[in-house]
Homo-oligomer: 257 residues x 2
DNA sequence: CGAGGGGTTGACGTTGTTCAATGAGCGTGG
DNA sequence: CCACGCTCATTGAACAACGTCAACCCCTCG
């Protein structure tokens, strides 16, 4: 653990979970938050809760009065259709403010479903309003994070709408590698990805069988392998070129604004 | 013109264009704005400008210090890829705050291109900051409108990722009908749509030829016709059922928040 | 008159789905 | 211990959806 992580931990006491300290340290670095701003964020947090894989945190159409931040585990934004199909629209990883969208929207247009076991911490909307009043900079950062979700949605539209099968899967794996790297969830060029082939298909508009075939080709080309929920990227250059991957749309470089 | 439209016009003088009065009246109704709030909005507007069809207002990667609102004409959010392909990610119509995303994001991840001749009015980012300081309610409304864009993106991911060819086109035409209706741009069940078949294909991930075939089938089924930039919906029930269209994601009903 | 943009249509190849069968791993209960 | 059911991954063959290539039409504009 880095020194500035420990500083954050110490200033808010030992009652918090390690995930909360880690989140605060990461977000402080990324947005160059002052200690006071990090404190405001910390004060707005309420209870944590845990969801099992496949469990829905929020359903489409729900009107909720809090927003959740993922401390541990993976989740997704998705919509179910009456014929049993499901479309996943974004993968959410630890550190993501997963349904901040519900604060301005009030009623959510999509559900949020745990992919692995998932621990979250809740921010009541009333506390978010207070944060906005007390710190215009935090207000802007929250707006910013929701706009990054919109940017990711746009990239997914490009991905699904105009890339080949192999490139679509490659792009998804590149995106998640970059995002996991920022929150310290990669080692070398591999990371944990708790999605099965069916769920990858639900992200990309493919059947599970077709995902299987595309993954085999990527493996045979020596680009990437996916085994027992572990992604190993063997040829980053080749994979990102096939995917036409450019990480700018993730807005991951530290900001001053 | 309705009486409350005229009230807005009179309170801000005759120097504005009719589009600005009309916009202010529409947004006042939709968000139940007070006269004072509408006045703040009006004061944040600067020069208007006009773009020709095919002209880019903003390019991907631009860092701009204003956001534009469409007064007249259609535009789109899009990304160009090196091989000459283009993906359209959202259609923007009069009354849309088309690149408010650039205010929190600073650098835009996508371009904005005029589809027809387009007149816009600019809001400098400094004025937007002032609006946010002076009216938390306007701040929240601006955040809200950008989140509706995100919701539309999500619906497009569902559309492209999991619907059949005919249903995709049907859904696009249903969405635009609903959105045009709110800003008074429909008559009966028809509206102006300045997209050719190539551009419809760029929205949905199809070739122009395939769009042509799907449009023919929709026409032969008596659902909808598209001729010389005019959409005529002959069977709304049939079309919206084929598209599985549910307008909730557009968040068009008036809000009190 | 010709050029150019948009729409229309057909033949054919590629991509992805559907249906079906098989196997590997893993926890549970007899 | 093994049998059983379950989930997930794998593979093949037939089929449908969609792209590619090419030709042709209509209209407008210069």
């Amino acid at each position: 653990m880095r020194q500035d992580d420990r500083d954050i931990m110490d200033s808010y006491g030992r009652e918090s979970t390690p995930d909360i300290w880690k989140f605060l340290a990461t977000v402080r670095r990324r947005f160059r938050l002052s200690e006071e701003e990090a404190g405001l964020l910390k004060d707005a947090m309420r209870e944590t809760s845990v969801f099992a894989p496949g469990e829905y945190m929020v359903r489409e159409g729900d009107r909720i009065n809090y927003s959740s931040l993922i401390l541990e585990g993976f989740a997704c934004r998705c919509k179910d259709s009456p014929d049993g199909m499901r479309q996943i629209m974004e993968i959410q990883i630890p550190g993501d403010f997963v349904d901040l969208h519900s604060y301005p929207l009030e009623v959510l247009d999509h559900g949020i479903c745990a992919l692995s076991e998932c621990r979250i911490v809740k921010f009541p909307h009333a506390e978010i309003s207070r944060l906005i009043d007390e710190s215009p900079r935090l207000a802007r950062i929250m707006w910013f994070t929701t706009m990054v979700d919109a940017s990711i949605h746009r990239q997914w539209i490009v991905n699904i709408g105009s890339r080949s099968g192999k490139a679509r899967i490659a792009h998804l794996l590149c995106e998640l590698y970059h995002r996991c790297k920022v929150v310290g969830l990669t080692t070398d060029h591999s990371y944990w990805l708790p999605l099965n082939q069916t769920q990858i298909g639900e992200c990309l508009g493919f059947t599970q069988m077709h995902v299987n075939r595309m993954l085999r080709e990527l493996r045979e080309q020596g680009l990437v392998t996916l085994q027992s929920q572990k992604v190993k990227i063997h040829d980053w250059e080749g994979l990102s070129e096939l995917a036409q991957f450019d990480p700018d749309y993730l807005y991951l470089t530290p900001r001053d604004g």
